[in-house]
């Protein structure tokens, strides 16, 4: 899933300061799972904004809604009227949804309520961890199913570097596992550690963001 965290309240309050009719718009998919921008988080933020306004004696309308996804056009239909009536929409989706909301409603002032982080997994409730960088050419088959691009802080395809100690990464030994230790352990477990003797060629980074904004066209799927 795409993970995110909510922006600090002060930053959100500053973004919304000029507007008197605000819609806090949640997204029911990835950011609901990572507890950043789903219906519950929308409710908490909207209530906090209303309580703050009341404390300051400010008259402002703070509406709330959550749709299934903000990265697909059809799900916006149910909130069209609310969006068009709002002075500003605070999107509680990832950067994809927040941008796409502005594309679907080009006249709407859409502002981000979240900071998008990474493609990750849920390790346990309340803990999410990065797994994929979206490089466009998956190489994990050569590394026992562990991605060196993402799990190694330096994205080394011919690792490890000299900064690995006790299975931890020098970037932050307290919290970051050495990606190459993970690769070695997994490949050893699978009985394929000898494949690490192969020197990996230069990777073509142009298939990811380094090649510009990505686009997929499936002629067979188009209507």
């Amino acid at each position: 899933m795409i993970t995110a965290t909510r922006k600090p309240f002060a930053e959100i309050a500053a973004l919304l300061e000029p507007f008197d009719r605000v819609l806090v718009l949640g997204c029911g998919t990835c950011v609901t799972v990572c507890m950043a921008g789903g219906e519950k988080e929308v409710g908490i933020l909207a209530s906090t904004l209303r309580l703050a306004d009341r404390e300051k004696g400010r008259k402002r309308e703070v509406l709330e809604a959550t749709i299934e996804r903000q990265c697909d056009r059809e799900f916006f239909d149910v909130v069209r009227e609310k969006i068009e009536a709002a002075d500003a929409v605070l999107s509680m989706a990832c950067g994809v949804g927040a941008q796409f909301a502005g594309e679907v409603f080009p006249d709407a002032m859409v502002l981000p309520g979240l900071d998008t982080k990474f493609y990750g997994t849920t390790l346990e409730q309340g803990v999410w961890s990065e797994r994929c960088s979206g490089c466009g050419t998956c190489v994990i088959a050569d590394f026992g199913g562990v991605c060196p691009v993402t799990r190694c802080s330096k994205s080394l395809l011919n690792g490890p570097c000299g900064g690995s100690a006790d299975g931890k990464c020098e970037v932050d030994p307290k919290t970051i596992d050495c990606g190459w230790q993970l690769i070695y352990d997994r490949m050893t477990r699978l009985g394929i550690a000898d494949r690490l003797e192969k020197v990996q060629p230069l990777k073509d980074w142009s298939t990811g963001h380094h090649g510009g904004p990505g686009k997929i066209v499936r002629e067979d799927a188009k209507l």
Partner: protein, 132 residues
């Protein structure tokens, strides 16, 4: 419902395994006259957003009372409630609203006297807030 008009009342969310049982023994006590009681199957059912909405809806304060942590009926319910109350208090602080309008307490089923004391103290703290 006429008793629920101004002055604003306190909302108490009581765990049915502990505080609710304590409440049943003293339900008519004057300390509880200004309190709307909500029975929860577990204090861990408390939601941050719900607490904030209660304040929005006009509650003077929200008091969440669960089992003592070391004796929680559902093991982690009281701890969960405690963290959600902390989350609600943090949101109130961000909003510039006094965080002590929400409070977490732990009372066992036989501590009716403590429940009354907690209610009395919470109401007094809110009164103090209102006059300062």
């Amino acid at each position: 419902m006429s008793a629920r008009v101004a002055p604003a009342r306190i909302t108490a969310l009581l765990c049915e395994n502990s505080a609710w049982k304590a409440y049943l023994d003293v339900a008519g006590a004057p300390e509880l006259a200004g309190i709307d009681v909500v029975r929860l199957p577990c204090s861990g059912k408390t939601e941050t957003g719900l607490v904030l909405r209660m304040l929005e809806a006009g509650s003077r304060g929200v008091l969440v009372v669960g089992c003592p942590k070391e004796n929680c009926e559902y093991v982690r319910g009281s701890d969960r409630a405690d963290r959600r109350v902390a989350s609600a208090r943090a949101a109130l602080a961000e909003a510039g609203v006094r965080a002590d309008r929400v409070r977490m307490e732990f009372v066992s089923s036989v501590e009716s006297h403590r429940l009354l004391a907690v209610a009395r103290d919470f109401a007094a703290s809110l009164d103090k807030e209102a006059t300062t």
